[in-house]
């Protein structure tokens, strides 16, 4: 797909159609004629011809397409880039900062990961027609404004890479903690994000943040089986059955983050991964976790992401290492922020600490505040159980 997009001059829509034609041709021919020795090259070559046919069939041809046809029609292919470079270029094109941030995730899922528009629409809980319209608008912008399919130069890479990593991270979190709907974890999206992160780490092995992101996703994903119970309800970290954690993924993630940090160019993804490693390697349970280290890592992370959410997470780590009262002091200063008032997790965190301090009435109030903010259904169930507990033992 990536190679064909480059060959047709960056026209995603045309490339999609041509690849579909080529796959149909493969389905028709391969069973009888046998699979060609290089299936990838075969598909690219057929798709290139199909694209040419499509351009010829169109009555009105714009300059861009004429140029594309010239390139396609010439006996020499454009300078041969590896399939890997094309794939990477396609990712950078779909995550271009000139595209609306909201459409970069769906566009990457469609064009890089090959999900159907219907699947993406389901993941984002919008009608298929709405998602189709957004994708078409983005493809028009790419083509109309001349957004190139290429890997940015080293001097541009840092800024551009951040947008790409963000998209991969959002695909994962959308799968890991669905923003809406009944199911807490959408495994397919997590798998897709991990695949993308692996591809990026393979293509850009010298970028520690890329390796850090892959490590973060692996370490978080390792806990997937333990995050929900048989009924699909959320199981919080401290109550998870750690025997269900995937040891192989944890070992791989830990090795990756260690290697990335050794390069001495830390960044938010490496720090998040280091925090995830602290949790994932504590197989003995919460008491076995190095909370002091986690609190320090969150403190470091504040330098990159000075957000109240990070500060709230640091408060929880402080509560675990120095006692609930110390954590509550930090959370209470944060609770004054208007923005955080609407964040259910803050009230849940406060409620948990108040509960551990035996201040049950205040804990119940905080759980109720969290429920009023309409958290996702599985979390709502968890808060409801906690509320019933503190209310019963008062």
């Amino acid at each position: 797909m990536a190679t064909v997009t480059r060959l047709v001059g960056g026209d995603l829509g045309l490339a999609e159609d041509a690849v579909q034609d080529a796959c149909a041709a493969a389905l028709a021919q391969w069973p009888a004629a046998g699979v060609p020795s290089d299936p990838h090259a075969w598909l690219v070559s057929v798709a290139r011809h199909k694209a040419l046919d499509r351009i010829r069939r169109e009555s009105r041809r714009l300059d861009k397409e004429r140029a594309a046809m010239r390139d396609l029609g010439s006996p020499d292919l454009p300078p041969a880039a590896g399939a890997g470079d094309d794939e990477l270029g396609l990712i950078f094109m779909c995550c271009h900062p000139a595209l609306d941030a909201e459409v970069r995730v769906p566009l990457t899922l469609r064009s890089v990961c090959g999900l159907t528009t219907a699947e993406i629409a389901r993941a984002f809980l919008v009608p298929e027609a709405t998602m189709a319209k957004r994708l078409v608008r983005a493809k028009h912008k790419i083509r109309g404004a001349g957004i190139p399919l290429r890997v940015p130069r080293p001097d541009e890479l840092e800024g551009r890479l951040a947008a790409v990593l963000r998209v991969v991270y959002l695909i994962f979190t959308e799968g890991h903690m669905a923003t809406g709907g009944e199911r807490l974890v959408r495994g397919e999206l997590c798998d897709t994000a991990v695949r993308l992160a692996r591809a990026l780490a393979e293509l850009l092995p010298d970028e520690p943040e890329v390796v850090g992101l892959l490590a973060l996703l692996l370490l978080t994903d390792a806990r997937r089986a333990a995050r929900t119970d048989a009924r699909g309800a959320l199981v919080v970290l401290e109550e998870q059955d750690r025997r269900l954690w995937d040891r192989a993924l944890i070992a791989e993630g830990e090795a990756l983050v260690t290697e990335a940090l050794r390069r001495g160019r830390p960044g938010p993804y490496q720090l998040h991964a280091a925090i995830a490693a602290c949790h994932s390697t504590a197989l003995g349970g919460p008491a076995d976790t190095d909370w002091r280290q986690i609190a320090a890592l969150y403190g470091e992370l504040l330098r990159y992401e000075p957000s109240p959410v990070i500060e709230a997470n640091r408060a929880v780590a402080v509560a675990m290492s120095e006692g609930p009262a110390a954590g509550l002091v930090i959370l209470d200063t944060l609770a004054d922020s208007a923005q955080l008032q609407r964040w259910p997790q803050l009230h849940v965190a406060r409620a948990e600490l108040l509960r551990r301090l035996g201040r049950r009435t205040e804990a119940a109030d905080a759980y109720r505040l969290a429920l009023m903010l309409e958290p996702p259904t599985p979390e709502r169930d968890f808060i409801g159980r906690r509320l019933a507990d503190v209310a019963a033992t008062r």
Binding site: R61, A145, I147
Partner: protein
């Protein structure tokens, strides 16, 4: 690909007095940005514009030509100049747009030129 850069600058009143030191400095900054684009071979044409008060807007409604004194839309930033450039792709155009002084205090809108089939 051809792109039109629309320089949106500060509103009247906040602008430096023509001929003043600040005004000369702005002028030199624009000349430097223009010269770099000419040097790189991407520049097709560029010019500053007279203030919006000098504009007349033409609309035809029900076959009747209506003239309005002033620009088409009242916005906080006003169109102060333009450059027409020819770049390889959007990335190159965006790099040049960022060298225009208006990007610092106002904004530079990068509009691809619509290629009309001949």
């Amino acid at each position: 690909m051809k792109y039109l850069f629309l320089f949106n600058g500060r509103a009247e009143g906040q602008m430096a007095e023509p001929g003043s030191a600040a005004w000369m400095e702005t002028l030199r900054a624009y000349q430097a940005a223009d010269a770099a684009m000419v040097e790189a071979g991407v520049m097709i044409d560029c010019a500053p514009l007279q203030p919006p008060e000098a504009a007349t807007t033409v609309r035809i409604r029900n076959g009747e030509t209506l003239l309005t004194d002033g620009p088409a839309a009242e916005i906080k930033e006003q169109l102060g100049g333009y450059a027409l450039v020819d770049c390889a792709d959007l990335d190159e155009a965006l790099e040049w747009a960022a060298t225009i002084p208006a990007a610092v205090h106002g904004s530079v809108e990068v509009r691809p030129i619509l290629e009309v089939p001949s």
